[in-house]
Amino acid sequence: MPIKRRNIPTIEGVTRQMQAFEFRYSITTDEFLRQDGLDNRVDEDDAIQWQYLREQLSALQDAAIERLYSALPKGHEVRLKNCENSSELLAA
């Protein structure tokens, strides 16, 4: 039985899925995450999936920023390497 792969998600696709959760539960993703996914109104499986979507989105955004920075002159690379994730990079 070979291991299969689903299509690699896109920022747009992941965002749409997160918006579907926001609509279903009438809270924003930020509000949901501020509670560390512990909102009792959110179904157990949905909470896991919602958090995973946020992790996916963060990874996709980081990859996009890496691609952007890799196209810049060399001096900019040092700052990229010192950052753990996109939020740190944007703050730098």
């Binding site: 291991i3 792969r5 996914g37 157990e44 909470a47 996709l60 990859a63």
Partner: protein
Amino acid sequence: MHFPEYAKWLAEQVANTTFEKGCVQIGPFATPTVTPDKPPWQMEWTIFFKDGLFLHVVENWYRRGSTLGGGGYRKHFSFHYGPANPARDTDGIPLRSELYPAIIRIDQDDQIGPHLHYEGEDHIPQDRVKNLRISDMEPFQFIRAVNEYRRSGDKFDKILRFTVTK
């Protein structure tokens, strides 16, 4: 754990796993989000048995910071065995429903932490489960237990050697 290492382990485990005749499978899927070798990734495998029961294992692996060596760590998992709801999601996976309760489900999530759904009781926390460290549970350990359950008819607490205290 890095994805190539995980994918190799998964392929080996899958190759050594067999099911009774007549099963229908969705997956196994192992899909990294961004590039072939980087977390996060999700593993998911669903097996439908001919008698209307199904097995569903899913793991979500998150990114570990580069200062911790990069790679991924398993943050969530859910291993489920029970009757299959005819209502399905877009991937064909049975939707969870109180009308189709799990015979056993072993979960780790942020809401409750490691816990069991077993013998009609939901959210049995780790401190009531003896001789089974839930967070160390692997999908193939669970799959072997399901196969043993179906073959022998023994209860899961006997097969996995755990006890649930009151």
